[in-house]
Amino acid sequence: MLKHERGGHLRIEGLHLTLGAFRVNDLNLEVQAGEYFILLGPTGSGKTVLLETLAGLHQPERGRIVLDGEDITYSPPEDRHLGFVYQDYALFPHWTVAENVAFGLALQQQPRWAHWFPWMGGRYRRAAAQSDEVREMLALLRIEHLADRTPKYLSGGERQRVALARALVVKPRVLLLDEPLSALDPQRRENLRRELRRIHEALGTTVLHVTHDFEEAVALGDRIAVLHQGKIEQVGAAETIFRKPATPFVAEFLGARNLFAAEAVDGENGMARLRAHGVDVLAVTDLRGKVHFTVRPEDIVLSRQPLDSSLRNTFQAEVVEVAPRGMLAYVTVAVPGEGGDALPLVAAVTSRSLEALDLHPGERVVVGFKASGVHVF
């Protein structure tokens, strides 16, 4: 049985931490049991150190770390039952894949006295490597065929799967992931992202995943916290954060984007039909089900007249706001959808075409963008 009874509930209260140049001041965070929580922050914002502190590898100056109601702030790492996956995986190079995965399990299963004679641990590790738990975990991550290989000869994606299996097999109360996808090429990243979702759904582990990649955050996170200079700037669901950035930093870090959560179904010509805010948008993608999509403001065309038909997505909309920014102007429009809902879109137009269009809030306008301009993930 690989499935967790229930993921752990993690609470961080008033955490203060200084390590080298990195500082955390009064960090507060709550991760719900079974949640996939993303900590999003720019590179170098100290996310690794924060995760290591949660794992017990550094001591905070003040504050508490509470796991399932138990204060673990000063517990040694081996008593916390938190899984850890490093960005470059840190696999044990002197063991096979199966032994890597079996290590934590062997430590749990070996007799108590064996802890005092760790040079005998190999025997328990090799036995655990043959156990059903390890085999099931290798199967879950689709790496059974690598069981007897050494990490040296694995690809990045394979290593990442081994690192995940090794952390998950001991049923951690919370799985800490440190930029788990950023060392991979885009194709593998996409695959592994889906894998992470699937594994999270299969096991129900609480996940705390740090990343600097906003797409990754949106695609995976139930909730996202934006971290900046050791402080949480905002916590919430992806769309909320993008729609209503709480601080200037969040707005700038995420950029002006049209980001929506949507339900993807089959559309015409092999395209997908994405339903967001009661509006159907056509996109070129293989993804179905719950997805997110973005449209770059520069890719959206505004017009007074009906648009030419090569644009798959054309809508009648109402101008909500016109915001000139030097050479460009951002025009927010609302596309009315079913059930009184409306899809808010931001379009970037040059100030010259804004002059020609002569748009004002409350006026009607035609908006259009290509199906291939819709980025789904």
């Binding site: 017990g56 590898l57 790492p77 840190a90 044990f92 190079p93 290590f103 951690p172």
Partner: protein
């Protein structure tokens, strides 16, 4: 060989280097070739020679064992922790390499001699250093421990600390992490340190001769025969020792090559 084509600089440098290579190889080869097999055989049959050689090997092994028990933990501390005075300790570990070994012998005599506090303390439990095997062992230990400590320290340093951290999060205590992750990964370096230290101990003369002329280790025996009876009498023993050292050296190279692979 391809690199030598049209490269005069490489030729000149190679010729200069060849002088040095000849300078090392020729005396060794000359000694080994000059002694016929029957001479070596006679030398081996001498009780005194056999005793000296086996004493040399076992005393050096004992010194290495002591350094293993005390020096490997020190190497781990130096590799993993930072603390005030660390640079000083690292320098101190290197000092035996640069101190003249006879001076090292004098220094040891000051601390472990018969009149010294430690000498008397150990004397109470029957351990004598001057003119005794324990003296040979501490002399060898003193002059060769740097090799093991430094090799082990570099070995530990080359083990990614995050491997240790991951192991902790998987439920291993620091003790378990050391034995299951760090030590096995540093083992190759430690092993080559062991061989280097042991080989260095075998060849020690200066410090040993001051603490314990008797019982005689092989280098002292060679010296004594040369002083008392002359070159031809010292040569078979020297040849034997060179041959044995050569074998040790080959093992060392073999282990070193494995580290890279």
């Amino acid at each position: 060989m391809k690199q030598f084509r049209n490269n005069r600089l490489l030729w000149v440098f190679a010729l200069l280097g060849a002088v040095l290579v000849w300078f090392i190889a020729w005396p060794l080869l000359r000694t080994v070739l000059a002694a016929g097999p029957h001479m070596l055989w006679e030398a081996i049959q001498e009780e005194e020679v056999r005793a000296a050689i086996s004493l040399t090997f076992s005393a050096s092994a004992a010194a290495t064992l002591i350094a293993l028990i005390l020096g490997v933990p020190l190497a781990y501390v130096l590799a993993r922790a930072s603390f005030p005075g660390k640079a000083l300790i690292e320098a101190l570990v290197d000092i035996p390499v640069v101190v003249p070994h006879s001076a090292a012998g004098i220094a040891l005599l000051m601390v472990f001699g018969r009149q010294s506090f430690l000498g008397q303390l150990f004397g109470k439990v029957g351990i004598r250093f001057v003119s005794a095997v324990p003296g040979i062992i501490i002399a060898m230990l003193f002059v060769s421990l740097s090799f093991l400590v430094n090799a082990a320290r570099d070995g530990f340093r080359s083990v990614d600390e995050r491997l240790e951290r991951v192991a902790r999060t998987l439920g291993a205590s620091p003790w378990e992490v050391f034995w299951q992750v760090t030590f096995p990964l540093a083992w190759r370096s430690i092993l080559s340190g062991i061989i280097m230290m042991w080989a260095r101990g075998l060849s020690e003369f200066g410090a040993v001769v001051i603490l314990a002329y008797n019982p005689m280790v092989a280098p002292v025996l060679i010296f004594e025969r040369f002083e008392s009876y002359g070159l031809s009498y010292a040569r078979p023993v020297a040849t034997l020792v060179i041959l044995i050292s050569l074998v040790v050296f080959l093992i060392l190279r073999w282990v070193g090559r494995d580290v890279e692979a």
